[in-house]
């Protein structure tokens, strides 16, 4: 057996104008505002922290029950409970500013104007490195579907945010659509610096004792390893169509899962639900990616990205 020289491979990746130490970031809504996991891992070792979705005003969120386990995943209908953009800047950002890690603010609005104002305020604050625009949330005005299900509306949100900020803008796509590539192309054209996908698949579950939904909100977002095959397929489809960087999200639990996304062409990955069951998941995934690169004699993670052989 030859002893492998464990020279650490280069891990930095570039998401448009945003440079990340490594391709492993956290997914919005699954990592709080960072602090919650500071006791478990060294936040500075993350590629980036994407914080919980921020709205203009603080949001109470949906009444409980909000979560339910499913086979290989979970449903959530948290309803974007968050402190609001101003409290985030005042109370949460100072902690994150002290970390040496890229901070990405996930933003959410009920109207075009909401998106505009949230983007404005975050762009004025110090310590936010990029915006991730969540267009996957249900919008009552649009027939129960979401901003993200219509290419025109998705593009409009994108250009509104782009106009307000000089920060890199990542647009986060919903999987609950017939053709995710058409949405991806639309937001790319509207100026998105990158796209991230997927958000949760809409699902539901019923309590047999009461014949009521397990979630007070009736439906919720399905996340976790159950959705990984769908996420990977969509990422691969989008990678083939757009030229901006694609961030892969959905059911990533292990380094192997993350590697699949990188191989099909994602420049980075976000770890979501995995944090809940294993608060150290991001670090284990990062270590596993490095090991794979070393074993495969690849010196730079960028040389692995997109090497899929269909």
């Amino acid at each position: 057996m030859t002893v492998k020289a464990k020279t650490s491979p280069k891990m930095a990746v570039q998401i448009g104008p945003l440079k990340l130490k490594n391709p492993v970031m956290t997914a919005s809504g699954t990592f709080g505002y960072g602090e919650e996991y500071a006791g478990y891992i060294d936040l500075n070792n993350l590629g980036a922290i994407v914080v919980k979705g921020l709205s203009l005003k603080p949001r109470l969120g949906n009444p409980p029950p909000r979560i339910m386990e499913t086979t290989g995943g979970m449903l959530n209908a948290v309803g974007l409970q968050n402190v609001g953009v101003d409290a985030f800047i005042d109370e949460k950002l100072p902690f994150l500013r002290k970390c040496d890690v890229a901070v990405i603010a996930n933003i959410y609005g009920e109207t075009y104007d909401d998106y505009k104002k949230v983007a404005q305020r975050l762009s004025a604050a110090k310590g936010v490195h990029a915006l991730e625009v969540n267009i996957s949330c249900p919008n009552v005005k649009n027939g129960g579907l979401s901003f993200g299900a219509d290419p025109k509306i998705a593009a409009k949100v994108t250009s509104i945010v782009k106009n307000e900020t000089s920060l890199p803008v990542i647009v986060k796509l919903t999987p609950n659509v017939t053709d995710i590539t058409s949405i991806a192309l639309a937001v790319e054209k509207a100026g998105a610096d990158a796209v991230s996908l997927i958000n949760t698949l809409t699902g539901m579950s019923v309590d047999l004792k009461t014949r009521r939904p397990h979630l007070k909100n009736i439906t919720g977002g399905l996340s976790g390893p159950a959705i990984k095959p769908v996420a990977l397929r969509m990422v691969w489809q989008v990678v083939q169509k757009v030229s901006v960087p694609v961030i892969g999200i959905g059911g990533i639990m292990t380094a192997e899962d993350a590697l699949e996304f990188l191989i099909v062409g994602a420049k980075a990955v976000q770890i979501g639900t995995a944090n809940f069951v294993n608060p150290r998941a991001t670090m284990e995934i990062l270590a596993g990616i490095k090991d794979y690169l070393i074993d495969s004699k690849i010196k730079d993670v960028n040389e692995l990205i997109g090497t899929f052989q269909p």
Partner: protein, 272 residues
């Protein structure tokens, strides 16, 4: 008192009562000393079915120089607890803990009343042990109302039995102790306790807590209750374990059972 991830080795996992198991786990000495009312999230590493970790209160805790021992008392109610029950000596589990804010024992009053429903005895047992070890508290102050569905469900009284001066076991069907819901039995005795002089600690199913709130009816009793809610992360990140709470100004907001609780002031809870 802050959570972290540990490997727990099963030392014992015994069915102490029909469907009720006592699991003794050995873990690293770096495990923080828990406060009564804190809990752990437990899972089998790598297993995706069941998918989420399960929250279980710490029933008992001890340490020596080389390891810590965590006891969990749990009832088998579904897939997750079923799998826990199947673990044999030497099996490994992953534990995240200690988590949450336990009971506040900084200023307990003269009378200390414990009210439990079913397996809700678990965190109270640790609390009673802990209070008993305080020199300023004597067993004569401590009165316990443990409620169970039936005699076959009575569990977790071993340690607390000799620590409380008064044990008022009750069962829904009267097969042992007084017959009736524990909140009703307590209500019969309530005149014995002067509200300003009494601290109440309670843990049990939601229905029991709500009944207790009605019994106490915003009197001057101080009542700390430990709540249960479905959890995903246990660390405050997912916002999944919400409970509606009134703040000082009376405004409602959703607090996290895992990290703002699981112990809350009964008066602050908004029932639906």
């Amino acid at each position: 008192m802050a959570g972290n991830i540990y490997i727990g080795e099963v030392l014992e996992n015994e069915e102490v009562q029909e469907n009720c198991f006592l699991m003794k786990l050995r873990t690293a000495p770096s495990f923080d000393n828990p406060v009564p009312g804190q809990f752990v999230m437990i899972r089998i590493a790598g297993l995706n079915d069941p998918f989420l970790s399960r929250p279980i209160s710490i029933y008992s805790f001890s340490r020596n120089e080389i390891f810590c021992t965590i006891d969990l008392l749990y009832r088998v109610v579904g897939k997750g607890t079923q799998i826990l029950a199947g673990l044999i000596e030497g099996s490994q589990v992953e534990i995240n803990g200690p988590l949450g804010n336990g009971f506040d024992t900084t200023s307990v009053r003269k009378n200390i009343v414990f009210i439990s429903g079913g397996i809700g005895i678990a965190p109270l047992s640790m609390l009673i042990e802990s209070l008993s070890s305080k020199s300023e508290i004597s067993s004569s102050q401590m009165i316990m109302y443990p409620g169970f569905q039936s005699i076959s469900a009575v569990v977790g009284l071993e340690k607390v039995d000799r620590l409380c001066s008064d044990m008022n076991v009750c069962t829904d069907d009267g097969t042992v102790g007084e017959k009736g819901f524990v909140t009703q039995i307590f209500k019969k005795d309530i005149r014995q306790f002067k509200p300003e002089d009494t601290s109440i600690f309670a843990c049990g199913p939601r229905g029991m807590m709500k009944a207790l709130a009605e019994v106490l009816n915003k009197s001057k009793f101080i009542c700390q209750v430990s709540l249960e809610e479905r959890m995903a992360c246990g660390t405050g990140a997912c916002m999944g374990c919400a409970v509606a709470i009134k703040d000082k100004e009376g405004a409602m907001s959703y607090k996290r059972v895992c990290s703002d609780g699981p112990v809350f002031d009964l008066n602050d809870i908004i029932w639906d």
